[in-house]
């Protein structure tokens, strides 16, 4: 893909498209950015780094108690052992859901998100409604995702205010005994690893 013509279908009147293209043109002309490097960055987050990474971590934790223990104690190393490292995954922590506690991750101050295991954050994660309400009305937020928790389930909200990045490990669904890690990974949704959902049941998958 060359960058010279890959914007042609953009609406030329869109002010942000014009603004970004002008900035890229200026920086490229000054030799400060390599458009081909931008292509590689985009391709990385479109096709290589995404929530399938995190699903593999969760599926392994469900299948292998020793791995789950490692993930609990040193998530960065346990996740790196599967090849998932780098930007916005440098310092990882795992938050395990239990029958009585549900974990929910937010960044009220910006958009901190564990890119290495979940990819780029969805728009709603970065937008003011989620960031403002997750810490004060998590049940109301979860209802908007179609998730109603029992009234006595404890909710722990993790506000990512520093450089630690959180991966929620949802509970393993019932009826999945004997499933391979690959099959289990298919039940692990992105939202279940943020805490705005739970893992799929085998019937729903």
């Amino acid at each position: 893909m060359t960058h010279d013509h890959d914007h042609d279908h953009d609406n030329e009147l869109d002010p942000m498209a014009a603004r970004v293209r002008a900035l890229e043109t200026i920086l490229t002309r000054k030799g400060l950015v390599d458009p081909a490097a931008i292509d590689v960055i985009v391709d990385t987050y479109e096709t290589k780094v995404g929530p399938r990474n995190g699903a593999r971590v969760v599926a392994k934790a469900w299948s292998d108690p020793a791995y789950a223990d490692w993930l609990r104690k040193d998530a960065t190393a346990a996740i790196a052992s599967l090849g998932f490292t780098g930007r916005q995954g440098e310092h990882m922590q795992a938050a395990f859901n239990t029958p009585d506690t549900h974990n929910l991750v937010v960044c009220t101050l910006c958009s901190c998100y564990p890119w290495a295991v979940l990819g780029l954050p969805p728009v709603w994660y970065k937008a003011p409604p989620y960031r403002s309400r997750a810490v004060i009305d998590p049940r109301g937020v979860l209802e908007e995702f179609g998730l109603t928790l029992p009234a006595d389930t404890k909710i722990r909200v993790w506000d990512s205010t520093a450089e630690l990045r959180y991966l929620v490990v949802p509970e393993r669904p019932a009826g999945t005994e004997g499933f391979s890690e690959e099959k289990l990974a298919g039940l692990v949704t992105r939202d279940s690893m943020i805490g705005t959902g739970v893992a799929l049941t085998p019937e729903a998958a």
Binding site: A18, L32, D34, V42, K154
Partner: protein, 219 residues
């Protein structure tokens, strides 16, 4: 700063509106905005804390009415100007008119995978023993700095319990302003919903923040 980005507990901002099967990008320009932001960061002129502050330090109407990639581009233009890589004239003309500062490096396509895989670890050794241990009751400070901070307003002067003692991390409040990394230990501190939001809070709710040591005092 007590800026528009510090959103925890604000009301009236509407429903979350999750999008089914959301694409990674919603427009071609968002792809370039992401790439430009990361590639420009690789110039080596600023750090993540300065870049966060450049995005956040803006009028609330501007911040709240901009999409996240818009905020990134506005922040990026500010950083590029501040560090001499682009000028107002360049931006006004939409092409390179003025010269540019010399960058430490330019990110080449071949180096992208290794650069992304390396990331930018922010942990740093801290000699002093931790001031707090797991289980300690602590109170967050109350302050309103004009500059960058990572202590949200909703969590100021609140009493909580240290859950985890982490290693040292770069201190954003100084690092954002070119005043050095000054690493401090970080603690995960847990608060009850009632402590933060009052009597009507969800009784099942606890909220944690990750707090640098200087944000905390013994309770």
């Amino acid at each position: 700063m007590n800026g528009p980005h510090d959103l925890g507990g604000q009301m009236g901002l509407g429903p979350v509106a999750p999008e089914i099967d959301e694409p990674v990008f919603h427009a071609e320009w968002e792809k370039r905005a992401l790439g430009l932001t990361l590639a420009s960061g690789a110039l080596g002129a600023w750090n993540i804390d300065e870049s966060r502050h450049a995005r956040e330090n803006r009028h609330p109407v501007d911040y709240l009415s901009s999409s996240y990639y818009e905020i990134w581009i506005k922040g990026l233009e500010r950083l590029l100007k501040r560090h001499g890589f682009v000028s107002e004239r360049d931006l006004a003309k939409g092409r390179a008119v003025d010269g540019a500062a010399t960058p430490r490096r330019v990110l080449k396509a071949a180096d992208v995978p290794a650069t992304l895989a390396r990331g930018g670890p922010c942990d740093r050794p801290v000699e002093a023993p931790p001031r707090f241990k797991a289980g300690d009751r602590v109170v967050t400070k109350n302050f309103s700095p004009a500059g960058h901070t990572r202590l949200p307003r909703y969590a100021r002067r609140k009493e909580g319990v240290v859950e985890t003692v982490h290693e040292g991390f770069v201190f954003p409040d100084s690092n954002a302003h070119g005043e050095g990394e000054n690493p401090q230990r970080v603690y995960t501190v847990v608060f009850t919903g009632k402590e933060i939001w009052g009597e009507d809070a969800d009784p099942t709710l606890t909220v944690s923040i990750d707090a640098w040591e200087s944000y905390l005092e013994p309770a």
